[in-house]
């Protein structure tokens, strides 16, 4: 309920409501952008642009069509994908592949001490590659069921259930910690 009121005030251009929402979601949005852009400095700039954008177009959010976080997630995803398609990354093809989490799984623990200060590896350590792949495509790249099925070469019907199983594993891991 609190979230609903916060979002309502935000849509009335209440700056303090905006600040609270920023504190709730900016770190997550930065993380989403970073899985795509793979450059933390650039991700910070894009993250700021995304929040400026949602402030300027707050009217276009409609609660009956989805969660508030989902709305920002979509905007952030598009901004980050635009970024890697733009000139600055033209020659850097590896940015196009959705391999952030797979890469993280493949790194040895020693490598991770420096680069994984927030414990991403710990959260996904029990997930199989096919799990982190499907999660990355659907949440961080915005693939639809059909697109994900084509990309992973699995039946469309499998996408929904596999994705649910993988998310459940993250939820279990969150509880055990």
């Amino acid at each position: 309920m609190a979230l609903d009121i916060l979002v309502e005030n935000f849509q009335k251009k209440d700056a303090s409501a905006f600040e609270q929402l920023y504190k709730m979601y900016s770190e997550n949005i930065l993380g989403v952008i970073n899985t795509i852009v793979k450059n933390e400095g650039r991700s910070q700039e894009i993250c700021q642009d995304v929040f400026i954008k949602i402030w300027n177009s707050s009217d276009s959010y409609n609660a009956s069509k989805g969660r508030f976080f989902t709305w920002i997630l979509n905007i952030a995803r598009n901004a980050a994908i635009d970024e890697i398609r733009s000139k600055s990354h033209k020659n850097d093809k590896k940015n196009f592949s959705a391999d952030y989490f797979v890469g993280m799984l493949q790194q040895s623990d020693e490598d991770n001490i420096d680069v994984d200060s927030k414990g991403l590896k710990n959260l996904i350590r029990n997930l199989k590659e096919k799990c982190v792949q499907i999660i990355e495509l659907i949440y961080f790249r915005g693939y639809t069921q059909k697109e994900a099925a084509e990309e992973l070469d699995i039946p469309v019907g499998t996408v929904k259930t596999r994705n649910r199983n993988c998310i459940s594993q993250i939820r279990v891991q969150m509880k055990t910690k």
Binding site: E19, Y22, K23, Y25, S26, E27, N28, I29, L30, G31, V32, I33, N34, T35, E40, G41, S43, Q44, C47, Q48, F51, I52, W55, N56, A63, S64, K65, G66, R67, F69, T70, W71, L73, N74, Y100, V115, D116, S117, K118, G119, L120, L123, I124, I135, I138, Y139, F140, G142, Y143, T144, Q145, V159, K160, T161, N163, R164, I167, I170, R171, M174
Partner: protein
């Protein structure tokens, strides 16, 4: 609806990802408002994605104050209204330009089609003219050859005068003895009636009048010049032209003798 089945289907996970259709989003939202279990499940799924994304970077976002500074800068220079106006204007300009372009393209296409058909007409006229020139050339060449032939040194010219049947008729014979050819100029003869043809005779006068046929003018109708080439190996002393039934006769019908002339001794 079985709530547990609905949850187990995995549709809520896609709802949180924002990858469902607008219709599906409205449907999920409707059930979430109706069934608290569904709403709780959505929040739990969202929490897992929040946790995953939060851990996906080692960096921290800019402080909120930096964001507000940028926003107030934007307000001062009034970027927004200007931007909106500009996009409107450029949008219409784009449409106008593409419309103009399409019209231009259409016009050019029509011009091109018109030119194509004009070109076709002209090239047809051209080939007609070319044919005419070729015909004239051939005709000129023929006339030249003819003229050269009858002008040659060895050629004798014999005038054939009109006879009783047709006193106003006349003809000329150009005889090249060396080449044994005669050219009959029959311009002064009337058109032969249907079923009849002019026949040319070489005449021996002494000791007795002996006619020898040297040919028929059977292309009289078609030949415009009315000049006919025949072969004559006789030592002729005169030439006569008679009108004979089609196909010619063995001996001349003297009642239909049109023209007659004698070779002068030289």
């Amino acid at each position: 609806m079985d709530v547990n089945d609905y949850i187990a289907s995995g549709i809520l996970e896609l709802y949180v990802a924002g990858v469902l259709s607008e219709k599906e989003n409205l449907e999920v939202n409707g059930y979430a408002n109706q069934f608290p279990e569904i709403k709780e499940e959505i929040i739990a799924i969202e929490a897992s994605i929040l946790e995953l994304s939060r851990r996906s970077t080692n960096a921290e976002p800019y402080p909120f104050s930096k964001l507000m500074d940028t926003l107030s800068d934007q307000k001062e220079i009034k970027v927004l209204p200007l931007k909106e106006k500009q996009t409107e204007w450029t949008k219409y300009l784009g449409w106008a330009a593409s419309l103009l372009f399409a019209l231009g393209l259409f016009w050019t296409y029509n011009q091109n089609e018109a030119l194509k058909s004009e070109l076709e007409v002209v090239s047809k006229q051209n080939s007609l003219l070319e044919e005419q020139i070729a015909d004239s050339d051939t005709s000129l060449e023929k006339t030249r050859t003819l003229l050269n032939t009858i002008r040659e040194k060895d050629v004798s010219v014999i005038d054939l005068a009109g006879q009783d049947v047709s006193p106003e008729s006349y003809a000329k014979v150009y005889w090249n003895r060396a080449q044994e050819t005669v050219f009959i100029d029959a311009k002064g003869l009337p058109r032969p009636p249907d079923g009849f043809v002019y026949q040319v005779w070489s005449l021996k006068l002494s000791p007795t009048l002996t006619p020898t046929s040297i040919g028929l003018l059977d292309t009289f109708e078609e030949d415009e010049n009315k000049i006919f080439k025949l072969t004559n190996s006789n030592s002729s002393e005169g030439f006569g032209i008679t009108l004979e039934p089609s196909g010619g006769s063995d001996s001349p019908n003297l009642e239909q003798l049109f023209t007659l002339g004698v070779v002068s001794n030289s």
